[in-house]
């Protein structure tokens, strides 16, 4: 049971959230036409053992998208920001 400190709702249980995925990848510019960049964005992922940035959605809470710093080995969560305020 991971507990996540949502900046809007406070400390909540993992079951209220849905996991989305890697928050380190950046969507190419709208007008980018090089398929290689889009393939990289859509399909290529690291699988780190340790600290990772991830998108989570407080889907059964405030419905804000969050960026978590989570340790994939220990499940520790060291930071949680609103995606809308996270530095990209």
């Amino acid at each position: 049971m991971i507990r996540i400190h949502c900046p809007i709702c406070g400390q909540r249980s993992e079951t209220e959230f849905s996991y989305y995925g890697d928050a380190t990848v950046k969507r190419p510019d709208e007008h980018e036409t090089d398929p290689a960049l889009w393939v990289d964005y859509v399909f290529t992922r690291d699988n780190p053992r340790g600290w990772h940035r991830e998108y989570w959605h407080h889907v059964q809470g405030c419905r804000q998208w969050l960026v978590l710093e989570r340790n994939t080995l220990t499940h520790e969560v060291s930071a949680c920001h609103l995606a809308s305020e996270a530095s990209s």
């Binding site: 969507r27 709208e30 889009w38 399909f43 959605h57 990209s88």
Partner: protein
């Protein structure tokens, strides 16, 4: 064995009568089922797992390997409960397990004679060698399954109720013995919110096994009194903390059975930033021949039965030990009048203990060990030999062997969080490593302390630390004389050389010393492999009794230290947890929410058959007379095309898209262009995923300059809203757009059929509904019976049709008003089945076609992809594989015969052998009343170029083949004259 007339912590004023194996079993309040069985002289209470050997009560706690019983009857039956943990209650019905016809005459006991065939890994060996893949294995499998196993599970629905609680506290104290009580007291005095969880029915832990009225009793009463004065301490008994999880979360089960009107168990999820683990220790068996014979028990358990339950387990007792702790048992037995001999493996015994024993009239044999228990049905004597093998074995008559090979701290919860405990050789046990930053800190016997005072001071200190720096914990309670501990003066011998007969390491699984030896000979090195190969410490044991002895034997054979061999992994649960407790109320219809449309009650009142669509209940069809679904959908579909029908489409996803950049946003998520859509107009659109595959489709209306009303398919509504939110909060933060779900806020219904305009006009006489004023793909605001509605002129059925949106609360009256006004036009309500027929006739795609694998080209929708702007998926939809010419394309099938096709059937060329994956597959199929034929939609390789070709439809599940002709999937009115008229 017998019940003493005085003493114990049982309530002699409240006798109870239980039933064991069909016979009355007397007991008292405060007894366990096990103590009542012992008091009544039941020596054999079960048969063992593999060999069906007689087994008696062995322990007095959760570690019980033998006295497994089935409780209750009928639907309430619960197998594999430990009699040592079952509270005595009037009327309790219990039965022994694993024996037929009964425990005294058990046919399965023949396995005992066949034991050479059931040694370590016997089950796995039936898979290999000359037997593999033969009927012999099948035969073994059947035999093994029947011969082994424990109690039988019940197949009836569980009539008990369970509930779940989630709670928080500052400090969770696990275990209500001396250490836990001290911890709770310190934390409580400091003002922390404390939960003290004790698995037993009362607080006290090991103190309950001390003689009544002693120093420890006085201590316990003092502490309990003070704890009850502190309102910030919540004391829970019968509550086992079974698991420690991430983020300081603990799982606990509280047993409530027997309490009138309460659930049977309550599952707690406790969030506690700090916890103290005062879980104590479990005694370890001595290993010798026939050490499973009824009459062989753990020494500490014998003392518990004597002092807590006033049951003297034997008249002539032999106490076999390698440490000091068992002397307390010996002395208490002697005071109760038993003849006692201590067989101590050590040559050096502390003088004070020896003198105490001798004063009590106990004979102490030093440097000796029991090598075998003897007796047919129970212990009648023991074979005792000097360890230096200087001299002959002695045969000593006895009816009880109380054995102690040391104790194993209950490190389970700690180990679940922090992995491997450390081995302390001088006390021969695993203890938690010192981890100062750990949120769960051990205290008491679980740390194998050398003296009693340390249990109390450590418990108090851990409780005080857990509560944080504020507040005053006061002074530490004074210690009491709790009898000798095992941890100092420990003698390493737990199994004498030259044991005779079957010597068990794991009683529950019938794992013998020789099985460990065999595993070693067969090359097993890792402890994890040893555990699985021999099944040592599996199931409810979870390393409680068997672990250390098995490891010790293995380490000996490998000529290594136990510390090097390591231990197996501890996983939750510490004690068995009923699935029912974890499930709580979330079963049957309550597994997930049920969604009902605002018009649901009307459908039910009309006798509609309901279908599940995700969480939704939808009206499937409205049977007339004894119509089945097949007859009903044909009638409904034909009626709509001939007259008029109304269908509830409230489940459609509805999203308000608002803001100055709303049109830009739609331009990005839809493949077609949105800048040109004027207010008052509606447009159909397709969305792709980032990888270029079609995600969803639907219509969006422009309500105003900066406001759009989008619909999605029922299935994708939640997913699409979440996806929009993510984009707007991350990659597209620059867009001034807000999205809001309106799915539950609006009812929606589709009025379809040639008479729909005429009917609507009577309902909305002030609104111009003429084709010029309201052409297809436009909407108008109106009222129906004074309810506000928005009429979207658009068609899914291919008929002249309107979708009517109204706030949810108005849904049912609007629906009712339309049905009433429609009577002269012969209006009917139609369900999702006929709605599907109408859309297939029309060739519209839906869920079965948008299956997450298909492209716009596959679906014949490529014309909707704008080339003038980028959109989600616009680059990757051009990947070579997605543009390949031999992809399967959407086509129609005209099916021959009177059976029709089934979704999922494969398509093969005419005359081709039906092997492999074929050239395509059927997605949606129906009988078409409009065409008078069976039709279907299908994906067929290069299908659009093959129209007119005859193919085979092969249903491999039902072994049916039919033939069909490929035609356009726009089966009915391809020009759209009906809907545009």
């Amino acid at each position: 064995m017998k019940r003493l007339t005085t003493g114990g912590r049982i309530n002699r004023d409240t006798p109870v009568t239980m039933c064991f194996d069909g016979r009355d079993l007397p007991g008292f309040e405060g007894d366990t089922l096990a103590s009542a069985l012992l008091a009544a002289g039941h020596k054999t209470v079960g048969r063992s797992f593999k060999y069906h050997r007689r087994r008696g009560v062995y322990s007095a706690g959760v570690e019980e390997p033998n006295a497994m019983v089935t409780l209750h009857e009928g639907a309430f039956r619960e197998p594999n409960t430990r009699a040592t943990c079952v509270e005595a209650q009037d009327g309790l019905v219990a039965a022994s397990q694993n024996a037929w016809p009964n425990i005294h005459l058990d046919i399965g006991a023949v396995n005992n004679l066949l034991s050479p065939f059931f040694s370590a890994g016997f089950y796995y060996k039936t898979f290999i060698g000359p037997f593999s893949g033969t009927g012999f294995w099948m035969w073994c499998e059947r035999f093994i399954r029947r011969a082994s196993g424990m109690g039988r599970a019940v197949h009836l629905p569980d009539p008990d109720t369970y509930e779940k609680v989630t709670t928080t506290c500052d400090v969770l104290v696990i275990g209500g013995g001396a250490a836990g009580l001290s911890a709770a007291l310190a934390a409580g005095r400091k003002g922390a919110r404390v939960i003290l969880a004790e698995q037993d029915t009362v607080l006290g832990g090991a103190i309950l096994s001390d003689p009544v009225g002693g120093e420890s009793d006085f201590w316990l009463k003092q502490i309990e009194l003070e704890l009850h004065t502190l309102p910030n301490i919540r004391i829970l008994t019968r509550a086992s903390v079974f698991g420690a999880y991430d983020s300081d979360t603990y799982g606990m089960v509280e047993h409530l059975s027997g309490c009138e009107g309460q659930p049977r168990q309550r599952y707690w999820q406790i969030h506690a930033p700090r916890a103290v683990m005062a879980t104590g220790a479990i005694e370890r068996p001595m290993v010798f021949g026939n050490n499973d014979l009824p009459g062989v028990m753990l020494a500490g358990a014998v003392r518990s039965y004597l002092n807590r339950f006033a049951v003297l387990a034997g008249q002539t007792a032999l106490v076999a030990t390698n440490n000091d702790s068992a002397y307390a048992t010996a002395i208490d037995l002697a005071s109760a009048g038993a003849g006692v001999t201590v067989v101590d493996t050590r040559t050096e015994v502390p003088q004070a203990l020896r003198e105490q024993a001798e004063t009590a009239g106990i004979r102490v044999l030093r440097g000796h060990a029991v090598i075998a228990a003897r007796g047919r049905k129970c212990v009648t004597s023991a074979l005792v030999a000097p360890l230096d093998q200087n001299g002959q074995p002695l045969q000593l008559a006895c009816d009880l062997i109380a054995a102690s090979a040391g104790w194993s701290p209950n490190v389970h919860l700690w180990s679940q969080l922090y992995k491997t405990p450390e081995y302390r050789p001088e006390s021969a046990c695993f203890i938690p490593r010192a981890l100062f930053e750990a949120h769960l800190q051990p205290a008491g016997l679980v740390t194998a302390p050398m003296e009693m005072a340390q249990i109390i001071t450590d418990g108090f200190a851990r409780g005080s630390e857990a509560a944080g720096p504020d507040g005053d914990a006061g002074t530490v309670p004074e210690s009491f004389d709790g009898g000798p501990l095992w941890s100092g003066n420990f003698g390493p011998v737990w199994c004498a050389p030259g044991v005779k007969g079957k010597a068990f390491v794991d009683l529950q699984h019938d794992v013998k010393l020789s099985d460990i030896d065999q595993a070693h000979l067969e090359g097993y090195v890792s402890v994890e492999h040893l555990k699985r190969y021999t099944t040592t410490g599996m199931a409810t044991d979870q390393g409680k009794l068997a672990n250390v002895n098995a490891l010790a034997r293995m380490a000996d054979l490998q000529e290594r230290e136990i510390a090097e061999a390591g231990t197996t992994t501890f996983r939750p649960p510490f004690t068995p947890v009923t699935i029912g407790a974890l499930v709580g109320q979330d079963h049957g219809a309550h597994v997930r929410p049920t969604r009902r449309t605002p018009i649901h009650d009307w459908h039910v009142a009309q006798g509609a058959a309901l279908a599940e669509a995700g969480l939704w209940k939808r009206a499937w069809y409205y049977p007339q007379g004894d119509e089945d679904v097949g007859a009903a959908y044909r009638r409904e579909a034909a009626h709509v095309r001939a007259h008029i029908g109304l269908v509830d489409v409230s489940t459609l996803g509805k999203i308000a898209v608002q803001g100055p950049d709303a049109a830009t946003f739609l331009n990005r998520v839809y493949t077609n262009g949105w800048k040109s859509l004027r207010p008052g107009r509606i447009r159909y659109g397709v969305m792709l995923r980032e990888d270029g595959i079609v995600l969803d489709d639907g219509a969006t209306a422009r309500l105003g300059e900066h406001e759009y009303f989008m619909t999605t398919t029922t299935a994708n509504a939640a997913k699409i809203l979440a996806d929009f939110e993510r984009r707007l909060q991350s990659d597209w933060r620059d867009l001034k757009v807000h999205v809001t779900s309106l799915t539950d806020q609006f009812a929606a219904m589709a009025l379809a059929g040639p008479k729909s305009r005429a009917l609507l006009q009577t309902l909305c006489p002030d609104v111009d509904l003429s084709p010029e004023a309201l052409p297809n793909n436009s909407f108008v605001e109106a009222t129906i019976a004074e309810h506000p509605v928005r009429l979207h002129r658009m068609s899914f059925s291919g008929e002249l049709a309107y979708e009517i949106y109204t706030p949810s609360g108005h849904g049912q009256p609007v629906w009712q008003a339309i049905m009433t006004a429609g009577a002269p036009h012969r209006i009917i309500a139609y369900g999702t089945e006929s709605m599907g027929t109408l859309r297939i006739e029309k060739g519209h795609v839906a869920g079965p076609e948008l299956d997450g694998r298909t492209t716009m080209e596959d679906l014949g929708l490529a014309g909707l992809a704008s080339s003038k702007k980028p959109f989600v998926g616009s680059v990757l939809r051009h990947r070579p594989l997605l543009q390949s010419e031999d992809r399967a394309q959407l086509v129609g099938l005209l099916v021959e015969g009177d059976e029709g096709a089934r979704g999922g059937s494969l398509i093969f060329a005419k005359g081709a052998a039906p092997e492999g994956h074929g050239e395509g597959w059927v997605t949606s199929a129906t009988y078409s009343p409009a065409l008078g034929k069976y039709i279907a939609m299908a994906f067929v390789k290069n299908g659009q170029a093959r129209l007119g070709e005859e193919v085979q439809i092969v249903n491999l599940l039902e072994n049916q083949t039919s033939s069909a002709r490929l035609i356009s999937h726009h089966f009915f009115d391809p020009e759209g004259e009906r809907q545009n008229g």
